[in-house]
């Protein structure tokens, strides 16, 4: 059982126990999940459907001189072959949205860096070049091998700093800096306070260069799309975190109205980010289906998925921090280059500095184009790679001024002020609770690397605050004469259990048992708009819409009584709540103990305590496991995952679970999770963000523990054995 504390934090009421939410409830679709009956995209089989495969670029940067499909077309069973020559002008809008302006139709139209369904030139290994639909997947696969593509290879660049040098290969005519929504190559970030004065006043100035690697989302379900047309309406089964946004993006790219696209996704084999919209394979499947007049299932191989889709953007970050003798941070400067690949699908920003109260900050973050795979959103998109550098250098700063890092954090972290107000604040409580549960004072070594022998223990910690904002979403609730309630919500179920969560919220708000509520989900023709399961918004935003719909239905019932006969009552809600200028955040602190074998470079995590304030916890067991799983991914990011390239030929070398060295059962330490529960009066019953928050601190907390164990500061993720051995030699 997960420990749960219900102490009131500043600004929040103590949580009052409720009827349904807050208790451990098995998922309402749990039986489907353990019997193989849950239907994922590739499990849908339509009569007569064709199988499609995509031919991808083997070159990091090349112009396609010609594509000869004659031999492939002659293969019996091949039904259609498409490429940029047959479909030159379909823009893959959400692949090139310019400046991270998510779902911004204007930006999609305006951007100079349009991405097409098939590009020419191709700009990364793995970019789609052509696609084949055939009677079965073997024939489609064979046909790919019979397509002859003549490439004119172009110079390529893999490194963000090399890409910014004069004379670097130009991936775009406008240069290699990502363009913002106005097509200007301006950095993200900005300047506040007086950083120069802050550094001048500092007794100590610390500097460091930190790098973080590309991490594939690597959800276990390889991406695919099953498309068919009913007249001029496209029906699309596709693994998406957001059916509503996926429908809109696909409709826009294909020149259709939203109502002409139906997107269906009920179960999805892992989300983790960047699937709240359309994908190029949706468009390709749709076009192949249109060409053939037949349903088409397009399947990506694991490697095509790894390279063709997206993962967390890599970064190179130069940090400078000024600290006074009493341990006050006086100035922070960040110069960051984010590796976005050739298309700016997402912002490339990094976060973490905001966790400090320091008033003098100068940040410049350049999204940079290279010929690597495209960077995108992965669970807390800008946070773990941002927190790793800032929390590493602050750890160093604490040692420099002779302070315990926990005390240093408590002194310098952001707190509510008259200018910056929060709906509630529990950062300090998270840190103090974690320190106590972890037994920080006993495990942390004032002198790093002081353990005797080759296997050295030490402890590190990190803390964070992360968005839990409110916003618009929709829900519809219906009740019939038998007293059964049907909830219509546009959620999919990517793993956290949104479907169950929505049912719990409805049952609580209606005051009825959970088993009286049926959920209709995952189909744009049957469900109203939902923000989609990204950005930690589903529980907060769609969940609150469920609460409002329930209130509306209760009003109707009290006015008109329960329906009789075949009559039903229906209520809908699209609330757009506001926190009146106050920030709504969740908070967390992680404490890690490591054992580092300084001869072999092996790191073992011997204790990991994660304390989170995520408002009211609606379903404790899945919430705990969202944190445990996210922590595990953070550890993978800290110690394992990378996508290595051969600098000579631009070939990716480690695409796949084995190559990227993902954690297995044997690598997974035990994670101890504690929630501090609060109710700030917003969201459904005070619920806040859970799923994304857990991944933010792994890299920094583990790196700080390794420093405390060894006395060596590791600046580059992942902290591999070879890097450790090199550093410790």
């Amino acid at each position: 059982m997960t420990p749960r504390q219900t102490a009131p934090s500043a600004g929040a009421a103590q949580v009052q126990p409720l009827q349904t939410v807050g208790r451990n409830v098995p998922r309402i679709d749990a039986v489907e999940r353990v019997t193989g009956r849950a239907t994922y995209t590739r499990d849908v089989h339509l009569p007569g459907m064709l199988y499609a495969r995509v031919l991808t670029s083997p070159h990091p940067h090349a112009r396609i001189a010609s594509i000869d499909v004659s031999r492939a077309a002659a293969l019996p069973g091949v039904r259609a072959i498409i490429s940029h020559t047959t479909h030159p002008d379909i823009v893959y809008g959400s692949g090139s949205i310019a400046g991270g302006a998510q779902y911004n139709d204007e930006a999609k139209d305006r951007t100079l860096h349009k991405r097409y369904m098939f590009g020419n030139p191709v700009r990364f290994v793995g970019e789609p070049v052509a696609a084949v639909a055939a009677v079965d997947r073997h024939v489609a696969e064979e046909a790919l091998g019979l397509i002859t593509v003549t490439y004119e290879e172009l110079d390529f660049v893999l490194d963000v700093d090399e890409a910014l040098e004069p004379g670097a290969p130009q991936i775009w005519p406008e240069g290699n800096i990502g363009l913002n929504g106005q097509n200007r190559p301006l950095p993200l970030g900005g300047r506040q306070g007086d950083p120069d004065a802050g550094f001048a006043a500092a007794a100590h100035v610390l500097e460091g260069r930190y790098t973080t690697a590309f991490n594939q989302d690597a959800q276990l379900e390889p991406r695919s799309a099953l498309a068919h047309w009913e007249g001029d309406k496209l029906v699309l089964h596709t693994p998406t975190q957001g059916i509503s946004n996926c429908r809109h993006d696909n409709a826009k790219d294909l020149g259709l109205e939203d109502h002409q696209v139906q997107v269906i996704c009920q179960y999805m084999g892992g989300g983790f980010g960047d699937k709240n919209g359309s994908y190029y394979f949706d468009l390709i499947a749709a076009m192949l289906s249109k060409e053939t007049g037949t349903p088409v299932l397009l399947e990506l191989s694991r490697k095509e998925d790894w390279l063709g889709t997206h993962g967390r953007w890599s970064t190179v970050q130069d940090l400078r921090v000024g600290v006074s003798d009493d341990g006050t941070v006086t100035a922070i400067e960040l110069r960051c280059r984010s590796g976005m690949g050739p298309f700016l699908r997402r912002s490339g920003s990094v976060s973490g500095i905001d966790a400090y109260a320091c008033p003098n900050v100068d940040r410049q973050i350049f999204p940079v184009h290279t010929n690597r795979v495209v960077g995108g959103n992965f669970r807390a998109p800008s946070e773990p790679q941002g927190y790793f550098p800032i929390q590493s250098i602050m750890d160093d700063a604490a040692y420099r001024v002779g302070m315990d890092p926990v005390e240093f954090a408590l002194k310098n972290m952001r707190r509510p002020t008259d200018q910056v107000r929060f709906t509630n604040y529990s950062m300090e409580e998270c840190i103090r609770t974690g320190a106590e549960l972890f037994d920080w004072s006993a495990r942390w070594r004032p002198t790093p690397g002081s353990a005797q022998g080759p296997v050295k223990q030490g402890a590190g910690f990190s803390f964070m605050m992360f968005r839990s904002g409110v916003g618009p979403s929709s829900a519809i609730l219906r009740v019939d004469a038998t007293g059964r309630y049907t909830l219509f919500v546009g959620v999919t179920d990517v793993g956290p259990g949104a479907k169950t969560t929505m049912a719990l919220i409805a049952a609580e708000a209606l005051g009825v048992p959970l088993d009286r509520v049926d959920v209709v989900w995952g189909d744009t023709d049957r469900c109203p708009y939902s923000v989609g399961e990204s950005g930690s918004r589903t529980t907060i935003m769609t969940g609150y819409a469920v609460v409002e719909a329930a209130r509306g239905l209760q009003r109707q019932i009290s006015e008109r009584g329960m329906p009789r006969g075949d009559a039903v009552l229906i209520a809908s809600a699209t609330p757009n709540p506001s926190t009146q200028g106050r920030q709504r955040l969740c908070f967390g602190a992680h404490f890690v103990e490591t054992e580092v074998d300084v001869e072999l470079g092996h790191v073992r995590i011997t204790k990991y305590v994660a304390v989170h304030e995520s408002g009211r916890i609606l379903n404790p067991l899945p919430a705990r496991d969202q944190i445990r799983g996210a922590v595990m991914q953070g550890i993978g990011m800290a110690l394992r995952e990378d996508l290595l390239y051969d600098a000579r030929n631009g070939q990716p070398l480690t695409a796949g679970y084995y190559g990227a060295r993902h954690l297995t059962h044997l690598d997974a330490p035990r994670i101890e999770v504690t929630f501090i529960e609060t109710d700030d009066g917003y969201g459904p019953f005070g619920a806040k963000t859970v799923g994304e928050a857990g991944i933010i601190l792994g890299p920094s907390a583990v790196a700080n523990a390794i420093f405390n164990s060894t006395g060596r500061r590791m600046h580059d993720l992942p902290i591999t054995r070879s890097r450790l051995v090199q550093e410790l030699a």
Binding site: L75, R137, L144
Partner: protein, 214 residues
């Protein structure tokens, strides 16, 4: 590389292509008769590709029911289960023996069905996730997976269940380390590793207490 398929300039070896070559070679060695698929173990030319793929008949049981099938030699077991027998509970995660989502039991032992040819199943007994519940009643493992929140997205769940079923059959009283070792070939990207191990241990404990009560 015999029977492998390569895209120009790509280092990706197709799992099915590889199996097509090696599997066909095995079949040819085993049968050495007129039905052996001549030419399948060499790089196919365009003309050969255009010819129909070699087929074999195979007889095996799936969840206790006998299946007699005419399969293409290049079909993997997971393809036959999913596409031809409608048993879509077994998932394809990587199709190259890395992730374990496709784990099924063959004569009680866990195997990656993406890396197993259907023609190799002659005379074997295959068990999939659809065969775990008996008479509509979930197995102790399935029940424990529910109670311990072992599935998050659920895509690895079938494989985790099958590998765990094999473990408990040969070791009814595993330690946590035993479970981790037995499941090391089953990745979970939701990384719900703690809960999965807890579920398997809970199922073992349930079985023990049920056994004691009898």
């Amino acid at each position: 590389m015999a029977g492998s398929q390569r895209n120009e300039g790509s280092d990706e070896l197709s799992r099915r292509g590889f199996l097509q070559g090696s599997g066909a070679a095995l079949v040819a060695a085993g049968l050495a008769g007129p039905s052996s698929p001549a030419g399948a173990a060499t790089e196919p030319s365009a003309d050969q590709v255009a010819s129909s793929a070699p087929r074999s008949s195979v007889r095996f049981t799936v969840n206790g029911a006998e299946q007699r099938l005419e399969v293409e030699d290049r079909w993997t077991l997971v393809e036959v289960l999913r596409d031809h027998l409608g048993l879509t509970g077994t998932k394809i995660g990587c199709e190259r023996g890395e992730c374990g989502a496709c784990t099924v039991l063959v004569d009680g032992a866990p195997v990656y069905s993406c890396s197993t040819l259907a023609v190799w199943m002659e005379g074997r007994a295959v068990r999939t996730v659809e065969g775990l519940a008996q008479g509509g009643e979930l197995s102790a493992l399935q029940q424990a997976f529910i109670e311990n929140n072992a599935p998050q997205c659920g895509f690895c769940t079938s494989g985790q269940l099958m590998a765990s079923t094999a473990l408990l059959a040969r070791n009814p009283t595993p330690t946590a380390d035993d479970v981790r070792s037995a499941l090391v070939g089953n990745l979970c990207r939701c990384s719900n590793y703690n809960a999965i191990v807890e579920a398997v241990l809970a199922a073992a404990a349930t079985a023990r207490s049920a056994g004691g009560a009898e």
